[in-house]
């Protein structure tokens, strides 16, 4: 259960950004969360609430955009969405491929800030 430490990093980062832009309150944090990031959304959401207590983020919302796993198919030579993270292969031609293009994201993309 490392989601609490991840949530605390998110809060710390958001606080710094808010202060840097001269805002007193963070209304929401928008996060990209890859299916291969190793972070569980539900655990992160409950940890986030805890991590926000007594900070500029208290009462704020964590808006999570889940990013599916996209791989490069060396046969079709295009990016393809895998159908399951238990099976890394091209869904069209079946060629196995370990080359992940998307799905490892753990990235704060935007903040909603208030005075």
């Amino acid at each position: 259960m490392h989601e609490l430490s991840i949530a605390m990093s998110i809060v710390e980062m958001a606080q710094e950004e808010a202060e840097r832009h001269g805002y007193a309150q963070v209304h929401a944090v928008h996060l990209k969360l890859g299916r291969l990031s190793g972070v569980v959304k539900e655990a992160l959401l409950s940890s986030y609430e805890m991590a926000c207590e007594s900070t500029l983020l208290e009462g704020s919302q964590l808006v999570v955009e889940e990013i599916p796993v996209e791989v490069y198919c060396p046969e079709c030579r295009v990016a393809r969405m895998v159908q399951s993270i238990q099976w890394f292969c091209c869904p069209e031609c079946g060629t196995p491929t370990p080359d992940v293009l998307h799905g490892k994201e753990l990235e704060v993309v935007a903040l909603e800030l208030k005075q």
Binding site: M1, H2, S5, I6, S9, I10, M13, E17, H21, Y23, H27, A28, L31, L36, S37, G38, V39, I85, Q86, W87, F88, C89, P96, T97, P98, V100, L106, E107, V108, V109, A110, L111, E112, L113, K114, Q115
Partner: protein, 232 residues
């Protein structure tokens, strides 16, 4: 006063701090010519026995050292000290994984150029360590024959994050009806093309091939002989 919130674009990796330290560690390993290998697995898969065997065998020919992560005890370091290689314990407390900063702190005062191999044993956990880059050159994921062939499918993220799968406790394979073909297929389903080595730290089966693999990787890491290794 109660103005609408303003949207500010940020685009920052949450684990940026960890990644920065990991990159610095990777560069430090490269400059020192040391091959850094981390081990991840579930608790009880034989990580410490595997590492003890590794250190004991390599110690006669190479300069090896290890960092071992543990939640609370120093038992592993005491066990590994029998190999006569330098071993340092990282007690993580309540933290269920190693982070790059912990490795950096543990290496404080170590001259890496005096090493050929550095092993980093992560906390026994197949979930949390997958998110953290430790700067290692290779990540081994261990799967013991007693755990069942479907572990890779249950924990695809960590198996996918690894470079090599080590099937351990091969001496028990027959006793537990281990289906090696199925285990290999499952590993390759989550990480196509991954190198798989099967061995037993107890009987020594597969150890020769494993040591060959390490030696080849060290040669890639260090294409030029280190200074002081003899004149031509």
């Amino acid at each position: 006063m109660s103005a609408e919130p303003r949207l500010v674009e940020v685009r920052k990796n949450v684990l940026k701090q960890n990644d920065v330290i990991a990159r610095a560690l990777r560069e430090r390993y490269r400059q020192a010519g040391v091959l850094a290998v981390s081990l991840v697995s579930s608790p009880g898969s034989g990580k410490t026995a595997f590492l003890e065997k590794t250190l004991t065998i390599l110690h006669s020919k190479y300069r090896v050292a290890a960092l071992v992560g543990d939640l609370a005890t120093e038992n592993d370091a005491a066990r590994l000290a029998r190999s006569h290689a330098p071993v340092k314990q990282i007690i993580t407390g309540t933290v269920c994984h190693l982070e790059a900063a912990m490795v950096q702190n543990a290496l404080d005062g170590w001259d890496l150029s005096e090493l050929d191999f550095l092993f980093i044993e992560n906390v026994g956990n197949l979930v949390c360590p997958s998110s953290y880059d430790l700067g290692e050159d290779l990540r081994f994921v261990l799967l013991s024959v007693t755990e069942g062939e479907d572990k890779p499918l249950k924990y695809p993220t960590i198996f996918h994050s690894a470079d090599v799968a080590i099937i351990t406790k091969s001496d028990l394979a027959a006793a537990v009806d281990f289906n090696e073909e199925l285990a290999r297929a499952n590993i390759h389903a989550v990480r196509p093309g991954m190198e798989i080595l099967k061995l037993s730290a107890k009987s020594g089966e597969g150890i020769g091939r494993y040591v060959d693999f390490l030696e080849k990787r060290l040669a890639i890491t260090r294409p030029i002989a280190p200074v002081g290794s003899g004149q031509s």
